[in-house]
Symmetry: D2
Subunit: 342 residues, 4 copies
């Protein structure tokens, strides 16, 4: 049986990544692709690497017909998404990859995004899309809010530990190294090859990164009390991948055991043997997340390090995994491609 | 139905790439992996990106049992391959990815590789593995000799043109830009990141590159007279991909038409619209080859540019495509993964 | 004695490179920096790597006072330059780094740049800035037109050979690999790190690159007859450097001798031992140009390969070398910094 | 007046970097270069980027004549250095760039380097080469021990703060991102371009990195009590540069003021305006170190971020700065080259 899907915002990186993954999915069929600024073009003109695929031409969103569409993936920019999704017919289910529906509290949204939410009623119905922790709700959701890619990485490392009370909640540091495709295809000076290659620097330092809203929301909910992690993302000269080095306080063995148990049956989350730690090189272009635990020389200080691909497990792969759940398909359909190395 | 395969030399890049591709193949099962220097290790210890797969442990070649193996892929170093393959039981069919069986004439082999061939009788039986041009012979072969990755790229651009008499045989220049994984996992100073990144230089300049033996053999055979192209490979700071810019003399339209017709039904060879040309970025980690034709401002001068991934279409993807043929499977099984971009 | 200089367009890469070089020049002093879109800012805000220097604040061109300025370096965009330079006081001498004054024939300019020149009288007075071949005229020039960076690289490889009649004028191919900073700090999709890293492709294929106007003008003048080379530039994933692989027909030894003699006394042009060839890694961030000659396996076919840094010897270093000449200073002042490796 | 110097271990990256810097030094002259495995070669054969310099041929250490040499720079591998330096004539003064003399306590040396020191008497006389903090002792030293490049970066960020009691000594985390040239020219699999490019991972996690010996020694000495920082280095796909993100607890304004005052008169250490932070892109190939301070959203949590070039300020530039001091020369001689950008 074939399930028809459409992708809004298909001319961005998350849209292209989704097409790449769906290309070998056994039962999804792409029947609509929108890209307002590129409407009328073939995908091969926008993304020549998709040349071999038989895909519908890009249209505007207004031109798109949703009658036979079961799932709409939405890869539109923040703020635009909430308006577009609010206008979609109720018959379609939505997997959003923007930031618009991640924060449940409208006040939180306004605090982190600087203006009131345009679809607050819809926001209430959205399910947070961190698959492994919201599986049951995602299955039945009409609207799933894809997580921030940094927020996903940090949560995979820490969420089971906070839930289990295995670490000190007041001393959590997340030092994150992010590849550049997480910033999208935006024309910004600091994203130029000449500016980024051979460079490395922090950004949004001091607690201003919007993914902190997700950390605060989720970690506080899990802990049952406010948790405010210290989070510093860095841009590194690579295209794909996020490495989150987290510094926590607790018992290393207990931490390791907690993570091992939490992810024992997960198809995509792999806890490495104790003392080993991951590289973004080893999860590239895949839906896998590798997690390592290392004890410091000073007892009670522990590093938990997580790696995933921001475009796959951190965004489009997560979206497809959630869509599989929503459609009652095997969760791993289209997602078992091995990482690309070297 | 499942077909059992084994990979010799699985601790190199071509071995790892083959495992990556077979991981999502519908009917191949890896039952043996050899890597003499890494015997006893799990693949996850040698290639952590393959951690999620259930694979046999690495063994020595001597320990390997070939009873139930239908196809052996051989990713061993040059010179070693001919000895190992000569000792394999006759019951297994072999897809070699080394250089050992590419040249049909023992004198040619000795000229380009500097010593006599150790298995000249076996050499006579080998079929040259450029799938699109040796398809029928590959189906029935016991031993298929994978082509050089540079040799494949140049041939995809030029072979139909030489066969058709569409270009001047005495003025063919192949200026090739190769990513570094083609050199394998060898510990050489010039392959270090610090030496290669931000660098670019020619190598094997002046007609000394061994893949010239393949160009000479194949182009001369097709032309029915000796053809000696001028070939200069360059190393560029990238991991995967070969871009071959070929300079030929002929009629641009006739050249374009010849290539379009030659590859019209090929699943992996894509001729771009006239005047467009490819990037290695658009075929990365896939089995596709993109070819473009551009006329120069001076009539009669034409550029034919081809791009493929040296590890996939140039080596392990080609090997798998050939194995599919040998087993009577759909030629595209396990190979339709879209290129990874960005 | 100190010579006052000003830089127009100091917020681009060539402007910043010039500041870097002048920072250790023994007798030049920067008294004015313009950058219209960044007027009012400190250079440290635009280029944090220049933070340690005591520099004038950026102004608009209109605000700049030229009274005490001896030399104005002009790093403005094409087309803008001709208007600005035409309006400068006659008392200042000008080293232009744009394309506006490279072509002597107004018809050529219009052909390659698509519109009539706005300052044709000024154009007549400009001296082509390829230092080693226009030294005497540069010394006395009021306006020196910096060459195209690709045009410089190709000319260093071929100009003495054409002048000496050492190569066949009808079979000259220049296959050029260029790093990305040659495209400037422009916000273009193909210059993004995510698009360029791990990529390589040709551009302006077929004879449309504007630097062909310079090749045609200069090579034809030297040859005394029209010469139309075949020129294909490629973009490679590096920040600095141009490698020009040229394919010519002639006697390899004669070619080598011609180049060796031509550059014997040049401080910045180094001809490598016969058979060796250069890497852009070995001239990076310096004013040196390395040239190699290699004979092909087929007698009469020869490769001449040249490498230089597009921002230094290909642009700002050339400009400073020319300014030194104009001011009667040692030509190497401020330019003897060794290449940065690795 | 000219000062003669020699470089032992000139075929490694720190040796080559030193030659690059000395090439434009006003009064140092290189009279000897050793490289045992490359003895007999010209530097241009080992490092083609130094082709334009008139340098002595490489010799073995045994062949080197030290009679007229004032300063010997030693870029030999660890363990080798202590034996070689112990055998040098007393007449020469030594700037060591290895790890051999960094730790004052022989027990510390044995703990971190796994065997007893071979020259413990010499070790006692060595001065730790962190120029800004050991200036007076360096001036008169016979043997200066160059610091670890990571150790230098962390100390520039934190040392004044520990000395001033401005931060909590029990909660200091140093998350460091290091480019690959710090690992030298060693032929190791993880240093290959194919393995490192598009990768990022931690190493020596958990308190095993040898530079911790320096942190412990220096920070404890400054604090007057044991200080054991938590230190995690990461390898990123770049060639030059170290970015140290340090997480400390204290008052952000006091921290900023302490650093500003400490480095107010330093020619190479630049404290950025409050709230700004550095990039390795902006200090590349220079002797500058940029430091930024940012307050976290939670009062009392502060990030201090430092960037320097491991080969220059972290090694060879530091060595030259120390040699200048030892010779009574201006400390900045040969070191004022601006960073290379882009």
């Amino acid at each position: 049986m074939t399930h028809n899907v459409a992708i809004l915002g298909a001319s961005g990186y998350t849209g292209a990544e989704l097409v790449r993954l769906i290309a070998t999915h056994p039962s999804l069929k792409i029947v609509g692709l929108s890209g307002n600024s590129k409407a009328g073009l073939h995908m091969a003109e926008v993304f020549p690497h998709l040349r071999h695929l038989d895909l519908p031409r890009l249209t505007t969103i207004d031109e798109m017909i949703f009658d036979d569409v079961e799932i709409v993936f939405c890869g539109l920019p923040h703020a635009t998404s909430q308006q577009v999704i609010a206008s979609l017919p109720q018959s379609v289910r939505v997997v959003d990859m923007s930031a618009d529906f991640r924060l449940r509290d409208p006040a939180d949204y306004e605090k982190w995004y600087g203006k009131p939410h345009a679809a607050p009623e819809l926001q209430k119905t959205a399910v947070y899309g961190l698959t492994e922790f919201y599986r049951d709700q995602i299955k039945d959701a009409r609207l799933v809010a894809g997580t921030g890619c940094n927020a996903a990485t940090g949560q995979y490392a820490l969420r089971p530990l906070i839930a289990a009370g295995a670490i000190d909640l007041d001393h959590i540091i997340i030092d994150l190294k992010a590849a550049v495709s997480g910033a999208g295809r935006a024309l910004k000076e600091n994203l130029l090859h000449a500016e980024l290659s051979e460079g490395a620097h922090a950004y949004a330092v001091g607690g201003t990164h919007r993914h902190l809203g997700e950390f605060d929301q989720e970690f506080s909910a899990v802990a049952g009390r406010p948790v405010h992690v210290q989070f510093t993302p860095h841009l590194i000269p690579a295209n794909r991948g996020i490495l989150a080095t987290t510094y926590v306080q607790g018992d290393a063995s207990a931490i390791y055991d907690t993570l091992s148990v939490a992810y024992a049956d997960e198809p995509f989350i792999k806890v490495l043997p104790m003392g080993q730690h991951p590289s973004i090189k080893h999860i590239r272009a895949s839906n896998f997340c590798h997690i390592g635990v290392v004890a410091d020389r000073v007892p009670g200080r522990v590093m938990v390090i997580a790696a995933l691909d921001n475009l796959t497990k951190g965004s489009s792969g997560q979206a497809l995994q959630n869509a599989n759940l929503m459609l009652g398909l095997p969760e791993t359909d289209g997602l078992m491609q091995a990482p690309v190395f070297p």
